[in-house]
Subunit: 498 residues, 2 copies
């Protein structure tokens, strides 16, 4: 039966994905320095095998055939998701994929080199080539999916998200933030006058920070039978649901950034560990999308670990694992002042909860125009600068490396991805509000280090849902209403307002 054939294919694809995921995590954590060339060759060949098997023409027949069969409700959903990923995988001609891969690899290499040299003019032609191909790709995907070009790109990262729904939400958030940011900075000034930032009592050894990180992971529900923590230059959550690899990096002068990074990645890991295991080899059993994934990491990092309740629980944990002198003289408010610090800055990845969405909305607006041909790469520095000046009061004209050259996404051809970060923040706030209605004791639970009720709600409403629903459907089912900015705005007002 055709459904059975798809099921068998799923197992093979899952095994290739398993290999690619573990090889990828291994490369960043344990590979010898001279092993890179052979590793790249191996991963490229395995990815080729994956693509070949995932796009075989007979799969179209199996899908068509299976659509005629009697299926369970989940079976029908699984089939729909399989079809979606088959369409996405087959809508680009092989020849085009080769051209695009070549162009983005070259442009990424150039970017690494020229960003360090702050050389926009040298980099521009490569980015122009990528944008040209991305426009072509967007049109190919749009034709296959019957969507507008930018929607078709976004749909790869969070199925169901459309500019028509996202843009108004972002517009409302932007308007709010432009007014709120000066208020929040003023309120912060007043708080810091009353309670100046306490100095760190480091150095903090890597061993003790690791112990603390492991204890925090265990507390919030990380399953060490199915995952581990190690070190890499760029922190990530990788591996496979049965063995999730998260990483962090340590600095010895303070310990909060590593701890918060570990908790962020733990949020991603909990999602992976909580996916429905019986569908692990089907697209249905995979995480829904990048925005939903980020909602899970930001839920743990921002909704949980940046709160007073969490730190009432966590302070004794720090004392236990780092010694009582680690936070000499600190109270919970001192931790909150550190982790909830707001500051206008050039760099997205260094931004805080209040300014981060402005970085994302800027990119969301610009990349739509780039894809739709309303903006050319040559005009990007000015366009970027205008928005940075308007949203954050900062000019980047003379400093492209901290302007449009700061992210790897565009050089790598990833357009339509940026909105996921802020959609994740909005979803996390909205999920928290729904959770608090469903579990009214949740703040007390956290104070007592009892994360089970909270995780039970998330497991049922998010994790175990896998990819049964589009991103907007998933949110509506979990929270009872469509994605909106209200909860995130309320959250920011409460945390950062006057």
């Amino acid at each position: 039966m055709s459904f059975q054939k798809l099921d068998e294919l799923g197992h093979k694809l899952e095994s290739l994905e398993h290999a690619l995921s573990i090889l990828g995590a291994d490369e960043a954590t344990h590979m010898a320095s001279g092993g890179g060339e052979k590793r790249a060759e191996a991963m490229s060949n395995l990815a080729g095998m994956y693509h070949e098997q995932a796009t075989a023409p007979e799969i179209a027949d199996w899908i068509a055939d299976a659509e005629k069969a009697e299926l369970t409700e989940d079976g029908a959903r699984a089939l729909r998701e399989f079809k979606r990923s088959y369409t996405n995988a087959t809508c680009l001609p092989t020849e085009f994929v080769r051209r695009r891969t070549q162009a983005t690899m070259l442009s990424e290499q150039l970017w690494r080199d020229l960003r360090a040299k702050n050389d926009w003019q040298g980099f521009r032609p490569a980015l122009e080539g990528v944008v040209k191909l991305v426009r072509e790709e967007a049109q190919l995907r749009a034709d296959a999916l019957k969507l507008a070009p930018y929607d078709a790109l976004m749909d790869q990262y969070d199925p169901g998200n459309r500019v028509a729904n996202v843009a108004p939400v972002f517009e409302r958030l932007k308007t709010f933030l432009k007014g709120f940011l000066p208020e929040a900075l003023a309120a912060q000034n007043r708080r810091l006058t009353e309670r100046p930032l306490k100095p760190f009592a480091g150095p903090y050894t890597v061993e003790k920070q690791r112990d603390l990180g492991l204890a925090a992971m265990a507390a919030v529900g990380f399953d060490f039978d199915h995952g581990s923590l190690s070190v890499s230059h760029h922190p990530f959550c990788g591996g496979v649901p049965s063995d999730v690899r998260i990483t962090t990096r340590y600095r010895t002068d303070e310990f909060l950034s590593s701890l918060m990074g570990v908790l962020h990645e733990t949020g991603h890991a909990l999602y992976e560990q909580g996916l429905p295991p019986e569908w692990a080899h089907w697209p249905l059993g995979k995480a829904r999308g990048m925005g939903v994934h980020e909602s899970q990491s930001l839920f743990v990092e921002m909704q949980l670990a940046h709160t007073r309740e969490f730190w009432e629980f966590a302070m004794p944990l720090v004392h236990q694992h780092m010694g009582h002198d680690a936070m000499r003289g600190w109270e919970v408010d001192d931790v909150l002042n550190r982790v909830n610090h707001v500051e206008r800055g050039y760099i997205r990845v260094d931004a805080d909860e209040v300014t981060y969405p402005l970085h994302v909305i800027l990119r969301f607006e610009l990349e739509q125009d780039l894809v739709n041909g309303k903006l050319e790469v040559a005009d990007l520095p000015e366009a970027w600068d205008a928005k940075m000046s308007e949203y954050l009061g900062l000019s980047t004209l003379d400093n492209p490396k901290d302007g449009p050259m700061q992210d790897v996404h565009w050089p790598g051809g990833a357009f339509g991805y940026f909105p996921s970060y802020t959609l994740g923040a909005l979803m996390a706030a909205q999920q928290w509000a729904a959770l608090e209605k469903a579990v009214p004791t949740v703040r007390d639970d956290i104070r007592q280090g009892n994360f089970a009720p909270l995780n039970d709600w998330r497991r049922e409403n998010i994790w175990l849902q896998g990819s049964r629903w589009s991103t907007p459907e998933l949110m509506e089912r979990a929270t009872g209403e469509a994605l909106n900015a209200d909860y995130f705005i309320a959250h920011l007002k409460k945390r950062y307002g006057a």
Copy 2:
């Protein structure tokens, strides 16, 4: 051209091998405990894909076609080895390989669990399943290679080795050892009366032992740009030539067993790192066989690191990395008395140079009977006990975990492998004798920590030869004579005799 097609196929197969090797090493070092089931499934599917691609029927045509072409000498050898591995690979149906991989991986996982519980009855059915498959496999291989079943199994591990040649050499060695062991023990008693064993001045921290191990690896030539050292329960050398993963385990009451283990695995690693890189994706570029591999590890461990010359070099290294108190009051003779200690024991991996071959010969004899159907798994504990009593005067009847459950090989389906260990010891002794003729200064070189001349000889005569020759041919070319027990027996007499 057909040779070119084989070359391209080689790259794909190398990539799958790369994935399997790294996943295998990862499983033993960094995998989460609950990741085993999915890992087994992934590796089984990848092995299936490897098998499918390596056994495609058109390869037979490519080989036949390439045989008609003008080839370089190496090209012709490469083709011959390709054909050999194609024959070995095609004699097992894909479906059989998948069944066997799954059975042995599960049986290995069971073994890990039940060995600890000393539960032979619980484990027996799994081993019976494996033995049934191994008999099937031996017959399939025998038919394809026109060899006897057990020879066909052995040929996978050391091409060219036959019971007809190995058995007489082992017989001679067994006869010698049964007489020599009591002599050696008596001689040791006399030595230990004059110079009692010095106590260790531990505890020795894992960190310091690791530092010492790394220093010793570097000294004897390990290339850290292409490999690393980590920890696993069962020490091994894995990974790929561009990234060799060796492991050790530590105890804190003494440091010599870990150091010697590290040097043993370093011997394996040097072979892998020294293989001809231009042929890495061809069978020709791979290590010749397991016996030759073991000769390289035993060369470093036994011919090098158990000698007076080595310890004249190594004592200062220990002081440097473990502190001067680590070997308080020890002289080189005290180290040698420790590392060359002979003792009758149950466990092969803990055995010394004199008793080890008896453990191997026991397994060589039993596994021939298991494969040929003269012995059933149910009767294994008694058969094992009878030989242990005869060769080593020890009974294992009430302690299966230290009897037939002690090794991973049989649970993993590796029959025909055990002889390699002792063949390796014989080859290492014979290689040392040839090396000493070629490089008369070698003992002085070692005293001075200069391992280059010694490694140069091995690189040229063993490592860079890859799989150009059968195991017996390789030995004859390197040492000028056929493999025999003379050099090893002379070596034992010199080191352990009266």
